[in-house]
Subunit: 247 residues, 2 copies
DNA sequence: GCGCACTACGTACGTTGTACGTAACTAAGA
DNA sequence: TCTTAGTTACGTACAACGTACGTAGTGCGC
């Protein structure tokens, strides 16, 4: 009788080891590592209970002793990757620079694990490492005199920008890992359709946008500008207690 | 022999009706409507090829004559909902007001179809109605003298804010539609864990944030502020050709 | 009117998450 | 020390999914 209740439960609230019985063969860290290894190699869709169990070298159903539901596996993955930040002991004091650095680090991490962005917009909760991350983000704003609610909103916005933009950059590549054709083929077909529609004249401004120069788009620059504008927006409201808008 | 190639294809590029053979029993609009009906009623996870076919009153595999892959069904859904905007013939000329109105309309539509936000961050491409939407968004910026690339980036940011925030608001409710317990139960359990962690003293700033007043959060106000800040950020850069930052 | 492209749909396969039962094991209580 | 109850391990099984494939019927273009 496996004591898995049909009630909601947070995986972080259940003890990893409970006195009785044989000692578990794996730790949560082992499991998270295995799942991340699979996702890195074959994409998020390859992360199935069977594959992860096989990667660990145990039976499929044994995994359910550690991870009551598949969603919890996702939470383990997010938490593990969130632990890859090497957060400095103390922020520098320049909140804008600190948050920018942090956002770039987040973007870099999500590029290493292209499934992370998609997962973060699907997974709901707080986990030890995400809390550590948020706590550090808040500490970047220590020099600012504002209610924490306001700071939280800024942190949320920065996180939102990061996940939105990186997801946008990477979703095609990630998605086509489990498709029978390549990302290039997909892109080509969609661009062909778009080109035909634009040539119809129904969307003059869209056409103008695509006609414009159009060297290859520098995604990092786009990301930088978006982030800068969000911080600008916050800066404007706090111009009096913080540094001026245009440095 | 069903002529479905294992090659990428954009559903909008295939003709709805091709001369030969018996006339199709359904239009793409019928199918999109059926799928949206199911998603509205039972959540996005209930949108399966079998259910949609049943809703239409045809065999499961008949659906594949209209929709080569399930992803295309998603595209039909996004396009249909994107058609629910009643866009004015011409924007008012005040780009900030126009974009704000549009963003609020988008938010309202996504509240009517709580699965829409999740779908929009998963679905990749342009469709007739999304192009119409983007074209209109660009037309809101006609009064601004900036390259279209810059305008596109602003439009993308506004869309990003809308989907990110609405997805965040609604994902729990949507998700628990296919779960055996209620959203309230889930929320309670997660908050209990969060409370315990916060009480541990490891996250003092997070604790302070949650200790702060904390009347019920007005999600629309949060959304408003986020949007305003994004527009502020754009305003700052264009202050010289546009209206001043603080009205 | 002939033929072929199209529609319709039942069957079937591989894959998924996971409920359930059973056997082995070990720490806690007698 | 011996029992015993809770845990771990895992094979089997099931319902549901996307969809490949084959067959039968239909009606437009030649």
């Amino acid at each position: 009788m496996a004591g898995r209740p049909a009630e909601p439960e947070v995986i972080w609230a259940r003890p990893e080891r409970s006195g009785r019985g044989p000692k578990p063969a794996f730790s949560r860290a082992d499991i998270a590592a295995a799942a991340c290894r699979i996702a890195d190699a074959d994409g998020l869709d390859a992360v199935t209970m069977r594959h992860v169990a096989a990667e660990l070298g145990c039976g499929t159903m044994s995994l359910y002793n550690y991870v009551p539901r598949k969603e919890d596996l996702y939470e383990l993955m997010v938490d593990r990757v969130s632990g890859e930040y090497d957060l400095p002991e103390k922020p520098s004091g320049d909140w804008r620079a600190d948050l920018t650095t942090l956002a770039h680090r987040a973007r870099a991490i999500m590029h290493v694990h292209p499934w992370m962005a998609r997962l973060m917009s699907a997974v709901y909760g707080f986990s030890p490492n995400t809390m550590r991350y948020i706590e550090y983000s808040l500490s970047c704003l220590d020099s600012i005199d504002a209610p924490y609610g306001e700071k939280m909103e800024l942190v949320a916005m920065v996180n939102g920008v990061v996940t939105t933009y990186v997801a946008n950059e990477l979703q095609t590549a990630e998605r086509t890992k489990s498709l029978p054709w390549s990302a290039d083929q997909e892109h080509a077909v969609r661009m062909a359709y778009l080109g035909r529609e634009i040539a119809s004249g129904r969307y003059p401004r869209l056409a103008a946008a695509f006609a414009e120069d159009s060297g290859p788009i520098d995604m990092e620059a786009v990301f930088d500008r978006a982030l800068a504008r969000v911080l600008d927006g916050f800066d404007v409201r706090r111009a009096e207690t913080s540094r001026p808008v245009t440095p």
